[in-house]
């Protein structure tokens, strides 16, 4: 299996042949691209919240968050497979709307549970001991990257031994409860049931999270710790508890996003499945202004839509490049991200 491009020393010709510049594609498919991008953006947004909250509270980029998401996918799969008793077949089940929603709801709860407890566990095992010893922020960062690998390799090599049929080098055989079907057409773009479910659920979660942060006492605690940990402690806010609940909240949302993602990509349940998505979500958080909840939500949606436009213009294989170029451009103009401010300062 070789590349003629490489062997014949003509990789640049090959590369050039693969870049398109197709503005017509964008113009013709504009609404379709927007809607597809919106559903990706919704997933990015939910995962981005986990990055942004933890950053706001701890000034830590929790790179292992993408693996929390990945564990959520396995959690949803486990729930469908073992607990709900669906046989993986790669084909879709026809269960009717009510039952499908019920099953997916249960799977989502389970995924949230798995991701939530994994996030809290991660904080307990990896970050809390470091905090106790007053480690420097670089140590946290390296630990986060390390934990990301540990969790990936756990699912890659250890999980298949603990739970036969799970993990390993190949993706899980899909369990599909929901086949994408066109529900209605808007501006000539088709909206599928999967897109509807993803965007609607993400919207609900985003609203709930926003309310939790801005309207509840616990949310005020998070904002207080983000703004000034020492003073917050003096005011009677338990920092450790706030940190734990922040991880929990991020994990719960990652779990919800994980189920939504498996609706879109049933073949995506694999040990490495969270990596790229995690980086995108992190970029979304930075794009919107890291540490800022609404920034993460906005950044996620924007990134999803823009990279979809980009792949229409430049070609599918340039999708990730478009996303990161966009990020760099925005940061050049506005180094703090679109909404800028940190979690603590935003709407006290």
């Amino acid at each position: 299996m070789i590349s003629q491009c490489v062997d014949h020393g003509a990789q640049y010709a090959c590369l050039a042949a693969n870049i398109n510049f197709n503005l017509d594609g964008l113009r013709n498919g504009f609404w379709q691209l927007t809607i597809d991008g919106l559903s990706w953006g919704a997933i990015y947004a939910l995962v981005a919240v986990g990055y942004t909250l933890v950053f706001g509270v701890l000034r830590l980029i929790n790179f292992a968050h993408s693996e929390i998401f990945m564990l959520g996918m396995f959690g949803a799969y486990f729930c469908l497979d073992v607990i709900l008793g669906f046989t993986p077949s790669g084909n879709d089940y026809e269960k009717g709307v009510a039952l499908t929603v019920l099953y997916l709801g249960i799977a989502m709860l389970f995924a949230m549970l798995v991701s939530g407890s994994a996030a809290v566990g991660l904080e307990f095992i990896a970050y809390r001991p470091l905090r106790k010893r007053g480690a420097r922020s670089l140590t946290f960062l390296i630990t986060a990257i390390g934990m990301s690998f540990v969790l990936q390799e756990f699912v890659h090599f250890v999980l298949p031994k603990l739970l036969p049929g799970y993990g390993g080098s190949n993706a899980q055989q899909p369990i599909i409860l929901m086949q994408p079907k066109t529900q209605f057409t808007i501006f000539g773009a088709t909206v599928s049931n999967v897109t509807l479910v993803i965007v609607a659920s993400a919207l609900v979660f985003a609203l709930l999270t926003d309310m939790a942060i801005n309207r509840t006492k616990f949310g005020r605690g998070i904002r207080a710790v983000a703004q000034d940990p020492t003073t917050a402690t003096l005011m009677g806010v338990s920092r450790e508890r706030i940190i734990m609940t922040t991880f929990l909240l991020g994990g719960l949302l990652a779990g919800a996003a994980a189920l939504l993602y498996t609706l879109k990509v049933p073949q995506g349940i694999i040990y490495s499945g969270g990596f790229l998505l995690g980086i995108k979500a992190f970029s979304a958080a930075v794009l919107g202004g890291i540490g800022n909840l609404r920034g993460a939500l906005l950044g996620g949606l924007l990134l999803g839509i823009m990279e979809n436009y980009g792949q229409a213009v430049f070609g599918t294989q340039w999708r990730d490049v478009v996303a990161f170029v966009l990020l760099v451009l925005v940061l050049l103009i506005r180094p703090t991200g679109i909404l800028g401010e940190s979690l603590g300062k935003a709407r006290a």
Partner: protein, 405 residues
């Protein structure tokens, strides 16, 4: 006080969420029998094609070489070596080959009490560097007179000189890089067609035999995918619609943009140059998107995992592979011996093993003799006819066409 109440409410809330989740999950634990039944789709061999895409029928009435021989063979203790990945992430292919050879050796030894040949396995993990450490062990073993391997192109490239200098016949069951036969090694033999054959063959098969008028060629931007797609596009000529020359990226799972583009072109078939991990979601999203043409791919996709991942959506997919199908008595014996279906390249391992055993049976028990025997060999195996050119390529390089059904 309020803080404590809120905290308690939160704790109770999350606890009840946990309970609800578990209870909910357990309540629904009756197995669901309706809906999607697991498919019994399989990758089944169809025809063997040449570079013009025309079907080549296997010769009638020619029985493949049987390693069991005539039962009267006499030989001193000699051994055949096998080198390839037996551990690590790429071990599956190495084990397929090893089992194929092992079966041939066992059949031979059971039937020939006077000639017991030993199979010695050398693990390279598929790594060229490890392979260069293993190669001296193989050539320094005085009993080893023939080698099947190394399995992959990289390690074959790295060790070919060593075997060439030692005069040890090294027949590979799976290394398909075109350049390997251009190195001037006298000991290199390839038990299947190389990469340069596959692309033109499958393209001509689509164009001439299936009479497809419009084909969308999609590659996965890897070395393998780009090279294969380029060969296919060149051979297809105007049949490859330039409006749907699409590159995706390995690791992508969402192909909605590609699906929209392909649907706009409404081709007779889509040729995907890439691996099963991307082929499965691609074919499923194409089917979900209403694409009704044929999905065609090559050896990177010819894996049971493709069918597992894509389910019914994979039905009717056409897959090309230089690798031969496991058929008839061989498949049954293999299953009996190893309690699993023969995998990709098991046939090649078995056939090459059988050829070397036949050489040993006919008294070729030194390295130069066995090398000469393989060089001049001409005969039918389970997978194909084996006869080599001076550079070690097969004289007739055919590609197998498989279909998911």
């Amino acid at each position: 006080m309020r803080g404590r109440v809120a905290r308690k409410a939160f704790a109770i809330g999350s606890a009840s969420l946990v309970v609800l989740g578990i209870a909910g999950c357990q309540q629904q634990s009756e197995p669901s029998e309706d809906g999607a039944a697991p498919t019994d789709l399989k990758i089944v061999e169809q025809v063997q094609i040449d570079e013009n895409g025309t079907e080549v029928k296997p010769p009638e009435g020619v029985t493949p070489l049987n390693p069991a021989g005539d039962g009267k063979a006499q030989c001193p203790p000699v051994s055949i070596a096998m080198a390839g990945a037996l551990n690590g992430p790429d071990a599956a292919l190495g084990i397929n080959i090893k089992n194929g050879i092992q079966l041939a050796v066992d059949q031979h030894n059971d039937n020939n009490p006077g000639c017991q040949v030993q199979l010695k396995t050398f693990d390279t993990e598929g790594d060229p560097q490890k392979a260069t450490q293993v190669a001296p062990q193989i050539i320094n073993d005085a009993f080893t007179i023939g080698l099947i391997g190394p399995a992959f192109s990289g390690e074959t490239n790295a060790t070919g000189d060593v075997f060439n200098q030692a005069g040890l016949v090294a027949a590979t069951a799976s290394a398909t890089n075109v350049t390997l036969s251009e190195k001037g090694w006298k000991t290199f033999f390839r038990g299947l067609a190389n990469d340069g054959v596959q692309g033109p063959s499958v393209a001509n098969y689509l164009k001439n035999t299936l009479n497809h008028k419009k084909v969308c060629v999609v590659d996965d931007s890897t070395d393998y995918g780009l090279g294969l797609a380029q060969a296919v596009r060149e051979t297809l000529g105007p049949v490859a619609d330039s409006a749907c020359n699409i590159s995706v990226k390995k690791g992508d799972k969402d192909f909605s943009a590609a699906v929209t583009q392909i649907k706009g072109a409404s081709p007779d078939s889509v040729f995907f140059a890439g691996y099963y991990a991307e082929a499965a979601p691609l074919v499923q999203q194409l089917k979900d998107g209403g694409f009704e043409g044929t999905f065609v791919s090559a050896d990177g996709t010819k894996d049971p995992e493709f069918v597992k991942q894509a389910g019914e959506a994979s039905a009717g997919a056409v897959l090309a592979c230089p690798c031969g199908p496991a058929t008839g008595a061989f498949a049954e014996e293999y299953k009996k011996a190893f309690n699993q279906e023969p995998g990709t390249y098991s046939v090649e391992g078995y056939d090459l093993g059988a050829i070397m055993l036949k050489g040993i049976d006919s008294g070729k028990i030194t390295r130069p003799d066995l090398l000469e025997f393989v060089r001049t060999y001409d005969g039918q195996g389970v997978g194909r006819k084996y006869q080599w050119t001076p550079t070690g390529e097969l004289t007739t390089t055919l590609i197998w066409i498989y279909k998911v059904q």
